[in-house]
Subunit: 315 residues, 3 copies
Amino acid sequence: MKLFTSVHDVSDINALAAEALQLKQNPFAHQHLGKSKTLGLVFLNPSLRTRMSTQKAALNLGMNVMVLNIDKEGWALELQDGAIMNGGTVEHVREAAAVMGQYVDIIGVRSFPGLKDREEDYSEAIFNKFVQYCGVPVVSLESATRHPLQSLADLVTIQELKKTARPKVVLAWAPHIKALPQAVPNSFAEWMCKADIDFTIAHPAGYELNTDFTDGATITNDLNEALSGADFIYVKNWSAYEPYGKVLPGNEDWMLNNEKLKLSNNAKVMHCLPVRRNLELSDEILDGPNSVVVHEAGNRVWAAQAVLKQMLETL
Amino acid sequence: MKLFTSVHDVSDINALAAEALQLKQNPFAHQHLGKSKTLGLVFLNPSLRTRMSTQKAALNLGMNVMVLNIDKEGWALELQDGAIMNGGTVEHVREAAAVMGQYVDIIGVRSFPGLKDREEDYSEAIFNKFVQYCGVPVVSLESATRHPLQSLADLVTIQELKKTARPKVVLAWAPHIKALPQAVPNSFAEWMCKADIDFTIAHPAGYELNTDFTDGATITNDLNEALSGADFIYVKNWSAYEPYGKVLPGNEDWMLNNEKLKLSNNAKVMHCLPVRRNLELSDEILDGPNSVVVHEAGNRVWAAQAVLKQMLETL
Amino acid sequence: MKLFTSVHDVSDINALAAEALQLKQNPFAHQHLGKSKTLGLVFLNPSLRTRMSTQKAALNLGMNVMVLNIDKEGWALELQDGAIMNGGTVEHVREAAAVMGQYVDIIGVRSFPGLKDREEDYSEAIFNKFVQYCGVPVVSLESATRHPLQSLADLVTIQELKKTARPKVVLAWAPHIKALPQAVPNSFAEWMCKADIDFTIAHPAGYELNTDFTDGATITNDLNEALSGADFIYVKNWSAYEPYGKVLPGNEDWMLNNEKLKLSNNAKVMHCLPVRRNLELSDEILDGPNSVVVHEAGNRVWAAQAVLKQMLETL
């Protein structure tokens, strides 16, 4: 594997998820693969789970890790081709990416969307420039429109915990006070549409996702209907795709609580975290027996390790 | 050892100090213990000595280390149970701690007090929540009310440098322009009260420490009397416990200088650092033959290594 | 080697450059040297290339690395001897440096000039205090007036790519909107003056460098004349030495472009990066066949590794 930026980079998602679960059983079996190899993690935005789980995955594989918070330890990058750089940007991404590629064997990049200009965000300009210029394999640590390491960990969690061959999985929109990216729901949707599951997306009217990511999903504005018979409920807020990046008024009643959970098939409740308690999910859910959010976060290690292992094997 | 947050977590402080001194003689003898084990260091506040010495200790034991400046690289944590998280906090400490525990084998946490609300600070809310939810052994890197790795290094330093079986040790308050926590003096006092020494605390009236930490100490407002015959003088500023977190006017003459040092038994002068020169301690002391502050800082490695070693042995 | 702060610390620059090129062929041959040894990298200013390349060099040698962004993760250092520290500085560099020396085997320090007070900057106060008090070998990661790891990498690049025994190398001033330090051009000049090359410095009137660094160079205000027959053009902006730290009006036509490049002997174009595109260097140059800026940045690893190797050999 040379690139891990979306589900389209993976030939067999079930095999990759199975490999992650094997690594979970035997984390240190492949330390020879990473010997004298270095992973560079470049953050243009904050991170806790992705930062720590990807580091841990690399260490399990015997790699060295260098972390660069380029926004805080470095400087502002120029993205525009042809720019006359007489303003605030200090280095063009062409040079920055190419230089980092001189120092590491694999690069992970995190770059959030601005949520101002949909076309710009969905063009994945900065991400694609890193891929184009760095000259080494690139892992997405969450881009403007996708978060594939999260989605793989989610698939791993579902494969690991499912009690039926083809569980019903519901992506359920939840309220938030801030405008959040569509990266996690986009990415979850495109992975679930390829998985052996029955997939439903529930959101209030106005929160339709870009249809590029939802082909094959059942989509409804009726949360209760969606929850009926659900084996997994994946709770997540996102801002509107149209009008782009907006939070629409109302919909506070979309918070998942025990009353709504009763409609499901005793569903496991998932969330990528961080979660706003008593806004997206009630305390009773998060502290109750159906929440698997911490277990799911733990699986981030094995997802990242499966991807890094496949990249190391092709170096 | 599963927890290192105060002297009460240690069954035999002399044995632990002795182990630290053995590690100083042979730093790399236990690298097998840390193989494929990871230490996570979580900082909610700045750090130099604790950050570097604890990393070094872990590396000496063959561990991997992941550092997270959660205030800068992550986001604001919610501490209040039951909070409706519609404000500035992004993640509840329940999730943050539990998730970190998925990625590391031992967690170190630094969290300073706010110095506004004494009850809140002395409840050690954030610290106790980390311990409660992370699911792995926890080392204090300084909490609101204690700094046990510092105190152990201080005990190690006294054991190493003492010239009599039962030296006289004086904790001497010193002036400062800012309101500083009581963590270092609290912690030093509770360790010294359990050590084989003659322990005196000297401070101006109004700077009484919480008596939970000082049981067995001689306490005086007369610095000169305290210094008489002292073998070790531990200089440190702290703000008042009552009224909480306040700096009282006056007392500039409590700065230790050579003239005062003459009253002692040619005492070694200690300080946890960082030290304000010519405010807490004069240049002549810090640059003179009696200062052991750098040596003491060096011993932070062996203190941390002894604690981490005992934790690794129980994993 | 105990100190690497300028060309004067190196007995034979050609031998050191040759060693760097040998390490490039065989990066992991000396991992025993760094076993259980720790490099501390202390940044008082941002860094990308130096940060990553020096870490990579240390990892190649089997060392552990601890990075400290003291300005962000620590606190403000006091530099003035005799200061009464009742202001904003939290720790004197005497203690900070001495303490860090307790935790690491080699220290790298980055500290930029203030560009306000020439005498202060050129005294290298903070740098010299680190050297004086830390007690371990010190590598400059760029100081107020020099950047020797960059200069060594530049020499390595010239040795590696030259097509004649004694190439003509031109240091060519270029425009910028900010006042930049003289560290890179000073350092490049003093290394080139000792190398087996024909060295010319071209800059507009008013940008004369301190003559301590330029002894033996041909110096001209005529860029076209300088470029004639050049084999390597090293493009770099710097602010004036007199009046200190100022950007003089005009000189925008000093940007290197393909038209000017034609005057040269099909020269390789170098730059230490970060580079302002279309201000210092045109896109056509940076994206064209003559640019070696990324290759040059890659050589930073081997320069740092050669220096660290020589230091490890004398520990």
